[in-house]
């Protein structure tokens, strides 16, 4: 189909420009270094903790609760900080370089354009996620963690990545200044992440609503080892909505 080929063309071009510039590599290297630091710290703490617990009563601490969950929560936050940097150039650069108008007048529809760029950002995210696989692999070599929560956590990661990239694409479409795009994206993601905290002390309808909007809440369930259609629907509709308004923004810019 013409549409898919177009999307793929945009996707290919974007991926090429990502990975022929050293920026992407630096970002990924930094990300891996930071997560490695967290990983090894939590590992050390867990081994110590396990040692203490052994003198108390047999069994020991639960890997999922005391290793998997804290580590991946940290990783999620690092992603929150880093994806704006990945997505900031999606549309802003085109605008800066002046190639944006060319794109708008090409036979590409806005939707195809947005989807192509979105998937490129998502694919970069997935590559970063793939590179974190050594962490659970080491865990499985040296211990026996519950496999269920690990799978659901990675699924959760993929989903929050899709949301983060979506927000980044949206803010990038709003401005030609990459810094503003990154800052806006970062701000929105942080607010969405933190809404969950506000609902802790409140109660009643508003608290329920805030909790539902918060990305952290939905990720939390998945990192526990529970997959619920509530979370899947949330992320699906979030992604669809954000892609929709990104396309709308770009459409409206056609008319300038």
């Amino acid at each position: 189909m013409r549409a898919l080929r177009n999307i793929f063309a945009v996707f290919k071009k974007e991926m090429r420009s990502y990975f022929t510039s050293p920026i992407a590599y630096v970002i990924v290297a930094v990300f891996l270094a930071i997560t490695a630091y967290f990983y090894n710290t939590i590992l050390k703490l867990f081994v110590q903790f396990q040692f203490q617990r052994m003198f108390g009563f047999g069994g020991g601490p639960n890997l999922t609760d005391h290793f998997v969950r804290p580590f991946y929560s940290n990783m999620a936050i690092i992603f929150l900080l880093i994806t704006p940097v990945i997505t900031m150039r999606l549309f802003s650069e085109e605008k800066k370089l002046g190639t944006f108008e060319l794109l708008l007048t090409s036979p590409l529809t806005t939707t195809q354009l947005v989807l192509g760029k979105y998937f490129a950002g998502l694919c970069t995210f997935l590559i970063m996620l793939l590179l974190t696989l050594p962490y659970p692999i080491f865990l499985f070599i040296y211990s026996s963690p519950e496999i269920g929560p690990v799978i659901s956590t990675y699924l959760g990661m993929i989903l929050i990545g899709s949301a983060f990239i979506g927000v980044g694409a949206f803010t990038s479409a709003l401005t030609e200044n990459q810094i503003i795009a990154a800052a806006l994206s970062f701000g929105i993601l942080l607010i969405l992440w933190v809404l969950g905290w506000a609902s802790q002390t409140a109660s009643g309808g508003i608290a329920e609503f805030l909790k539902y909007i918060s990305i952290m809440e939905h990720f939390g369930d998945m990192s526990k080892g529970v997959i619920s259609t509530r979370n899947l629907i949330y992320f699906l509709s979030f992604d669809m909505f954000i892609i929709f308004i990104t396309a709308s923004v770009i459409e409206s810019q056609k008319w300038r």
């Binding site: 290297a29 496999i147 259609t229």
Partner: protein
């Protein structure tokens, strides 16, 4: 003129916004909000009137119409998304991937919920609009709140229309006192107008609460009277009142009665009236026929709690001896340091050691108080019987067998080796067993259960619970009493759900392995990526 118009527009917007903001901050300040709001409206109306042609042109502009349409479309899409999410919020599926399925309910609970759904439907047909509810009283600022919410969400997953409320007793004291809730972590399960109190927030207790409250009749507990025992109909404030004990028993689903054993000729009549007997502090001898009917009742699988004070002979002692427990003619003297701190004297022994395996005491952690108690001695039980010592005093105590004489003569008590028995002293024992009699082939002999305690005052209102700072009430004595009753009650339709334990795993890591992981993850992997980037950069520069 132009700039003036601009100022008017801007100040109009500012005034109106100020008015709105003031109103949002405090709706009681609406008078103050009205002034700038009104002024703003006037200014804006003037602006729009003077510039009406310009305004018209703006709205007719294709760009504006287009943008307006898109905005509307976005709102519609948002509403559709919200609607979809709301639907799937209620009708959702979930999969628990943890090894021990700790975030799912057990099969027994799911079955019980199915049963509950039918019962509720029946009641609704009869016109009861609000037949079932669970109210959880927690401290909203504590992790108990999320525990309660998560648990209720699991129940709701299997029973979508389950009604529940999470309430803070501090914020809603009226509701708390309506259900007589005095501490955090209490759950009220209501079915129709019957309520039951569940003292802990976990699946086992709450499901059992549901079973008990929907059950047709309650388990009858009979307090024996006629020998000066404590009477459940006593009022709070009376001497030896056990109104707290009665209230606690009724709140967890027991029916409390008083019976006189002399009125029963055959054990069958007694069995019809009572499932559990409580003999709480008798002060005189029992009639021989009372003792016989008691024995028959017990050996037919009866359950009894005997609270026997020192200095009294009832005639039950021989019966207990035949089951393996000797009730000493002693007073327990306890010089535990704690009793000096809390101000009770040496004749108020404290229960500090508990049998770690028996159902009554196995997780019991509190210190119990037994004002003026006698000691119990474990004899070798007859075949088919087990006797467990469940509560003991500490080492600074002993069983004093010449208490009255020593007090009268010297005013003090002294340990006499040979006559007295040194501590720890057993204050409570549990007996379980069956007398093998003539039974048809293959049938199980009925099992009797008895708990004997060397004191009765520990369940009086003064000792049943302790008010701590008004809100929290701990009741070690009360909990011990309830544990005994629950063990005696042994209700067959109740379930026992093993609390789910999170899988424990060990990480077996040598120091070398640890270093290997560190180097690989912190150095090798990031550096190789950075190297790839460097290569790309170089190749671009020199291509």
């Amino acid at each position: 003129m132009r700039s003036m118009m601009r100022y008017i527009l801007i100040s109009g917007i500012i005034c109106l916004s100020a008015g709105v903001v003031i109103y949002i901050i405090s709706s009681s300040l609406w008078a103050y909000a009205l002034v700038p709001g009104f002024v703003g409206l006037v200014l804006l109306s003037y602006y729009f009137y003077e510039n009406r042609s310009k305004v018209k042109d703006f709205f007719i502009q294709p760009a504006t119409i287009y943008r307006g349409n898109i905005f509307l479309l976005i709102v519609v899409v948002l509403l559709i998304m919200a609607f979809l999410n709301a639907i799937f919020y209620r009708h959702h599926l979930r999969w628990d991937l943890t090894q021990e399925k700790i975030y799912s309910l057990s099969q027994s609970t799911v079955q019980e919920l199915e049963h509950l759904k039918n019962l509720i439907a029946e009641r609704k047909e009869k016109g009861d609009k609000d037949p079932f509810e669970i109210i959880l009283f927690v401290d909203l600022n504590s992790p108990q709140k999320s525990t309660a919410e998560e648990l209720m969400e699991q129940y709701k997953y299997h029973f979508r229309d389950l009604k529940y409320r999470i309430v803070d007793p501090d914020r809603d004291p009226a509701l708390a006192s309506e259900y007589k809730v005095k501490s955090y972590g209490v759950v009220i399960v209501r079915f129709g107008n019957k309520t039951i109190q569940v003292r802990e927030i976990n699946e086992n207790d709450i499901t059992n609460g549901i079973i008990k409250v929907t059950r047709g009749s309650e388990v009858p507990i009979c307090f024996v009277i006629g020998h000066g025992e404590m009477d459940p109909s006593s009022l709070e404030g009376e001497k030896r009142s056990i109104s707290s004990a009665k209230r606690n028993l009724e709140s967890v689903g027991y029916e409390v009665k008083s019976v006189s054993l002399a009125k029963f000729e055959k054990k069958e009549d007694l069995q019809k009236e009572c499932q559990i007997l409580v003999i709480a502090g008798p002060m005189t001898l029992f009639l021989p026929q009372e003792i016989n009917v008691f024995k028959d009742f017990m050996e037919a699988g009866g359950k009894a709690l005997l609270l026997l004070d020192p200095g009294v002979t009832t005639g039950l002692e021989e019966v207990l001896k035949s089951y393996g427990v000797e009730v000493d003619n002693s007073y327990v003297v306890d010089f535990n340091a704690i009793s000096q701190v809390i101000g009770s004297g040496p004749i108020v022994p404290l229960g500090v050691q508990y049998d770690r395996f028996h159902a009554i005491s196995k997780d019991f952690r509190f210190m119990t108080i037994f004002p003026v108690a006698r000691s119990l001695k474990k004899l070798s039980p007859p075949s088919g019987f087990t006797v467990t010592e469940i509560v003991k005093t500490g080492k600074e105590s002993w069983a004093e067998f010449s208490f009255v004489e020593e007090i009268q003569k010297t005013g003090k008590v002294k340990f006499d080796p040979g006559k007295d028995r040194e501590g720890p002293i057993t204050l409570a024992m549990a007996i379980e067993g069956s007398k093998n009699g003539n039974l048809p082939e293959g049938s199980e002999p009925p099992k009797m259960r008895i708990v004997v305690v060397g004191d009765s005052d520990f369940i009086t209102d003064n000792y049943f619970s302790a008010e701590v700072e008004g809100k929290e009430s701990v009741q070690p004595n009360g909990d011990f009493f309830l544990n005994c009753i629950n063990w005696l009650g042994e209700q067959k339709d109740l379930i026992s759900i093993r609390p789910k334990e999170k899988t424990a795993s060990k990480i077996i890591l040598t120091a070398t392995a640890g270093r290997l992981i560190l180097v690989l993850t912190l150095f090798v992997l990031p550096l190789s990526i950075a190297l790839a980037g460097f290569v790309i950069w170089i190749s671009k520069r020199y291509m």
